[in-house]
Symmetry: C2
Subunit: 353 residues, 2 copies
């Protein structure tokens, strides 16, 4: 049977320790050729709404020991919107009753079958945070007790949950430009995590005197600079646009997620300049940096003193992350009989394709 899961199923099936372990195993499998990635591609076409574009992303990855290849896709309508003088790309909830479509599809690498289809929302937040947590375990001081957080969305929540599970965090400060957002976040997460979470009114105040700093925003302008990095801190960023060049310069140890950084963009011929809401970043040369898997398998050297500044840039997602988290969800969901079942043969054929 092919399993159809929703985000409630995924939430129940995702176990923190299992996620950390599976992802850690995957990063050990990658360098020895038992896991593989196909980097992300984005394809675009014009949309009927003004300043909007249809955007379809896909990425694949397989981990042999999990028996799984994961395909992650998103099917979005994206619009350019002005906020405080800067332009942001907003996804529009035009599917169903104001919803979004993003899916993780799991395939068996033993028999080829479609094992499961599930939404990508929670898996997406989890796979980023799990990787950040593994990087913190490799690079952050073991006695880190204070966490400074920038951002108050799903990624910030997920990072708070996972970073506190790898370091003995006793106190959290959070900043988000919108006071309501940071106050609500602090109240909710303090209750959930059972440690003090304080909303503060600036990036500087969030970061000051923290052992571990994490930005988890959708900002496309740098908010972190080298000047804010204090001796001994481990800094975790989830998007390269969150940081300026001085962060790279001031860090003693830099790790990135993957050198497969080059997202491929496919635009209609002749429309390259006219299509709105396209992310037009300049590609950075990721080949200069060691990957987090290099630190996890001991091929790269992490922090050697408590005074060094370490920096992990969780730069680009990979299919192997989706395969690992998908495997965790699928195994638990199967055991617990979660989700809806569709006959697998609905998706099979006798014709050799």
């Amino acid at each position: 049977m092919t399993l159809i899961l929703n985000n409630d199923d995924v939430e129940k099936a995702l176990d923190k320790e299992e996620c950390l372990q599976a992802m850690d195993e995957a990063y050990h499998e990658l360098p020895v050729g038992r896991a593989v990635n196909r980097p992300t591609s984005h394809i675009y076409t014009a949309h009927s709404l003004p300043q909007a574009t249809y955007s379809f992303k896909s990425v694949e990855g397989a981990v042999q020991k999990f028996g799984i290849l994961a395909l992650r896709i998103t099917s979005d309508i994206v619009r350019e919107e002005k906020h405080d003088g800067s332009t942001r790309l907003e996804k529009l909830p035009l599917a169903g009753k104001g919803q979004y479509l993003g899916l993780v599809q799991l395939f068996s690498i033993e028999n080829g079958e479609l094992l499961a289809i599930m939404p990508d929302g929670l898996i997406q937040q989890t796979r980023v945070a799990v990787t950040s947590a593994l990087a913190a375990r490799a690079l952050c001081r073991e006695n880190a007790t204070t966490l400074g957080l920038l951002g108050s969305g799903g990624q910030a929540r997920s990072h708070l949950r996972f970073l506190t599970s790898v370091r003995p965090i006793q106190k959290v400060k959070v900043f988000s430009p919108n006071p309501d957002h940071r106050i609500t976040f602090a109240a909710e997460m303090e209750k959930e995590m059972e440690i003090p979470v304080e909303a503060v009114n600036s990036v500087e105040n969030a970061v000051k005197s923290c052992d571990l700093v994490c930005s988890a925003t959708n900002s496309s302008r740098p908010m972190m600079t080298g000047a804010l990095l204090e001796p001994g801190v481990h800094y975790n960023a989830i998007r390269e646009f969150e940081v300026d060049e001085s962060v790279f310069e001031k860090s003693h140890v830099i790790a990135i997620h993957t050198r497969y950084g080059g997202i491929q963009h496919f635009l209609p011929p002749g429309l390259k300049e006219d299509l709105p809401a396209i992310r037009r970043e300049k590609p950075r040369d990721w080949s200069r940096y060691p990957e987090i898997s290099d630190f996890l398998i001991g091929r790269a050297t992490g922090r050697t003193t408590d005074q060094q500044i370490t920096f992990f840039l969780n730069n680009v997602g990979t299919g192997v992350q989706f395969a690992s988290m998908g495997y965790c969800v699928y195994r638990r969901a199967k055991q617990a009989g979660m989700g809806r079942e569709i006959p697998t043969e609905w998706f099979l054929q006798d014709i050799k394709p």
Copy 2:
């Protein structure tokens, strides 16, 4: 509702004239930026069977006026097998009860929803043959009455159906190395097409004195040479491995399907040399040739005399082909109430991915 179709549904929903028209429209949309392709990628990982490899392919394309983006994927176990001294890659039917998995998934570019999932088997055969037929309409002599066919599989059948619908073919000769295959093919297709179909015992006999020649094989060694091309013939190949260099040299007009010829292969790091059953072709420089859409929109000049030899190499598939055929199937299937329906909201989420 999201429509789940099988190959019986697809067969009923595919109308020959509609397919030709939709694909022709798509080729007119491409050059003006209202259709877009993401080229094919293949990703591999080791399989537990000896000499076998797991292979996952994906390709995407969208046609704005059809409102559709198509994702086509195949999830295969491929094994190297020896036949008559040469090595062939065979797909193993390990899914379900000896079946294969290949899917076309259709997404709405207006609201992002998953519209339909269907097997790729018949669509795959049809999209190749429709493109070949459009090329024949552009390049083959209008009074072509004889067709020489190499191959007796699904692609050969599909090409016979579509090529006879664009030219007044009165007689067909077919060659396939296996006598049983060519005799069965001739008998069945003669009955279906209601024109004489003769099984012949060599490539030379199949090709001789034909106005239109089509190879539709899975051969990885050249079977067609320039010496076999007679004045005035139009030759259609569906794989570059079917022809040798002299075919290019002897042809007066050459058209290819797409300059996006570069399939991207992703192999596990360190396993590039060890993994069996990987297609390791040398990439040809496709940028030298005009595409079939150039001929359809009048940007390239086709045959100018009845004596010229024209050659169409249907080199690599594109997502736009799947979007066009998928659109034809989806529209008819919806009208006729075919297939199984799954609530679209099963695939949606409130989380902004």
